[in-house]
Symmetry: D3
């Protein structure tokens, strides 16, 4: 049976626990609080982020896989989770230097880090979905 | 760092607990039961509805936000949740007058209520997803 | 292998969607609202209740079971779920007649209905846990 | 009120518990383990699969439904769940004969089974999403 | 109907997002890392904590309540959540001064803060359960 | 600050995906189906089991820990998860030899395996809770 036909979307969930803060250095603390509220606490706060990475590709007829999920997990952990988990998003993460630590920007930067790594595996990064809390999440499709 | 590039989708989850009933006044109770089953109970039943509202827009380079989530939450609560929570969908809700209280129709009406409110905030309402139970949900994209 | 030793607790989750209202007939609507808030809406509201029934007993060495879960499910559905699902707790439910439809009282009444039925199956009803929303639940142990 | 306008997506969640194994008969056990890891255990392993079936269609102005969810549930259970639940995906399932029991392939085959059945109900099968674990899922849109 | 008989346990879930760090000032960073691992990151990390507060008491026959859940929520929010949410557990929280910010200690301190407040409401604080992640939680019963 | 007072309960969640079958070799297939239903399928079926292991002990004033969660995780993974995950409970698991693969019995055997290992860590194994599906779980306290 050959699945020449079949484009599938594969999603892997990973999690990281990190501290962050929303603020602009060129603003006073008053301005930061006016815009960012308690998210600008100078002593930081943090979250258990949930990350959903989705790639798409054709089923490999030899294995029935689009991509080996063990490989997919390794890529995400090495390039993203190991850099963010138990870290400070603003201070500790190379790909977040000089960037705002909003959920939106973290999602975009994770997408930009992962896209070339999945191209090497012959699948296309489709989207990065990032939950900050159970009530709020963002999704980025590289557009 | 400017994100002129980046279209993101932001989702906010809200919940409301409401009573409702599926029926047509121009049908007998027998007809209503034949089509709507126990959902047509004349004494009502109810649900903990879960609502996921998704908007899309560009990242504001000044804040790192597409939209301030506090603002997004206020809009949804004032226009939708305060009208539905601890209410009877058929009897108490202005935007549901003379409409069927199916999950499909509630989702469409919530979409129609929210769309103009988000345009004022310079983001586009992308979708309204509404869970009636953990096993059933509908999604509407304004098409 | 004989498990003469082993007391186990078995829990079955069931769900029901129902309308209800908190109020006293001998109080004015103003008094009812003062005490019960929006839960006293005369037009009703409703919930997806989640029910966790726990029984305890020894493992039967012949089957490895404390109780057959299919039997446990049948008992709960026939005695509780079929009476509450898609119903009005205040108006439609025999074992709730003339009782307050608070989560506490519903849990106690479910316990009282189920206790004798499980004694016939040679297991002891240990507890009834009832979620009204994801944030609120009560548990009753028959004490 | 007529909803001539409104295309909605309706999703039903169903679950099945099944055994499976990833392997090729034309490979040695060593080759199978090298590619499929512990998923190729000759004694099988298993999962609680979660299936999300999404159909799309216009709201029927007579009922407020796109499709009666009871009907949708019956179709999925008869054609898919009854064949997979408490079964061995590799050995017991007619539509999986001679196919690899990867999550990707199961999702494609479920889609192919369901598509014609929903056409008869005047709705279009939009996607099949299949969770193997809480961390891994695939989605297929028939492309 | 009087429920003189009935002791019930009522649980309220609340959430807070906070930064923290595990370390001892009297230890070197090497010692801290040896014992606390990446939890001792000097730049902090954080979590979405989930808190379950359980009180017990008799049903009030006048209302059907053990305690008004709105009151219970207000008490927990004012005394606990407002102090922890979007804060640094080590630096910002009065009842955590000079204490280790482990999940165990946070749970004990929350219990000690809440116990006298619920006594005033004529219910007994039964337990505080605190989730640090979806995989780890602690529970304290005041013993 | 010394917590000489404080007995805490720490819970770690782990998961394993396994095949199993309920049957007695000394019964015919007809007898097995009459008692165990589709759980006796000779070709096996399987589950994503969720395991909650709870230990109790005093807070160590030096660390703020009852037990290092990394150590707790290692113990559970080495003694339980590595033996059950991606395995056949009836055929592959040393501590399940000649035992019925019911959720009850698996929970008891996991408890018996873990109890002595935690005694060495100076904490007491309090309970093993095992979910077979989202609707069914058992709990064993060693009684």
């Amino acid at each position: 049976m050959h699945y020449i036909c079949c484009m599938l979307y594969i999603t892997r969930r990973e999690r990281f626990s990190a501290a962050h803060r929303l603020y602009r250095e060129d603003w006073s603390q008053e301005q930061n609080e006016a815009v960012f509220g308690n998210c600008s606490n100078p002593n930081w706060h943090g979250h258990n982020y949930e990350l959903f990475v989705t790639v798409k590709g054709d089923i490999n007829p030899e294995t029935g896989f689009v991509i080996d999920l063990k490989k997919m997990k390794q890529i995400i952990r090495a390039a993203v989770i190991d850099k963010l988990d138990h870290k400070n998003v603003n201070l500790d993460v190379d790909f977040m230097q000089n960037k705002k630590a909003s959920t939106e920007v973290i999602a975009v930067e994770i997408f930009n880090v992962l896209r070339p790594l999945f191209i090497k595996e012959n699948v296309l990064l489709h989207s990065v979905k990032l939950y900050e809390t159970e009530n709020n999440f963002v999704e980025y499709f590289g557009e």
